[in-house]
Amino acid sequence: MTDTPLPAPQRRAIIRDSLGVGVATGAYGVSFGAVSVAAGLTVAQTCALSLLVFTGASQFALVGVVAAGGAPISGALTALLLGTRNTLYGLRLAPLLAWRGVRRALAAHVLIDESTAMSVTRETRDAARLGFLVTGVSIFVLWNVATLAGAVAGNALGDPRKYGLDAAVGAAFLALLWPRLHRRRNQLVAVAAAAVALGIVPLAPAGVPVLAAAGVALVAGVLTKEQVR
């Protein structure tokens, strides 16, 4: 890795690409806001999730479990399990970004799928930091504005089932899952996890079936030898 300053054209290209990802991703905070109030959370709770948790899949998971009748704390546990992948992103990015102290503490908040994707492939520290920050900060701002808009609109609409918002939750999870399904092993894990969850639904309290499905990941991860990438 070198620390040469970034040429202007390259800098502009990184900013443009990162803003593009930021706008596209931030906008779907609207669906999170709408789905969250449909699940029964207040507008304040919905906005607190986007401000403080700020990792989309975990937020959708928390409100999804609550929407299915699960205890809020099962929702929080599911959110934490999904949040573990950010730890791995951090491990990859730490040597590249090389921030310390307050900067590292602030950067951690916007360490998510997209900011990682837009920085992990860069060849210099400057480029990695720029991609990470522009993507992370633009998503953070838009995601929160969009969440508020979605939550207020969702509240005004009334009964969420009338607008099919309960069906929107499943579609949102599928869209988050989709890019991870290109590998055969992942497809098998997905099918097994869905089967385990549905099999447990009649027996266990709501929220537990989803957590139990994480066991499939554990078993598959321990038993297979295939490399991650």
């Binding site: 704390i73 951090g90 607008y163 499943g170 092993r185 549905l198 989803v210 499905a213």
Partner: protein, 99 residues
């Protein structure tokens, strides 16, 4: 209860992010840990889809939500953007309930 869950998720998710940036890589960078961490989102998201779409309380059901999911699959195969997939599924489910 809900606020507790919100705060637990907030503190926990932040610490998980910070841990990755702070912990020496050798502590967590083992093939088996990486594989499990890679598969956890797959398993959880798939289980969430199944539970969201095919259950009501403790019962397994197939209703308008299943139709919505089918539409989502088609839209994803057509590479539609996230918002189109989500609201497309909602729209179809809503219309199906009206019929």
């Amino acid at each position: 209860m809900m606020w507790t869950a919100v705060l637990v998720a907030a503190v926990g998710c932040y610490l998980l992010k910070l841990a990755g940036l702070s912990v020496p890589p050798r502590v967590l960078e083992r093939p088996v840990v990486e594989r499990v961490a890679d598969l956890i989102p797959v398993a959880l998201l798939s289980a969430l889809v199944a539970v969201q779409v095919f259950t009501r309380g403790h019962e397994l059901v197939v209703d308008a939500r299943a139709l919505g999911l089918l539409v989502a699959v088609v839209l994803l195969l057509l590479r539609a953007p996230f918002l189109v997939v989500v609201f497309g599924a909602a729209l179809v489910a809503a219309v199906a309930r009206l019929l």
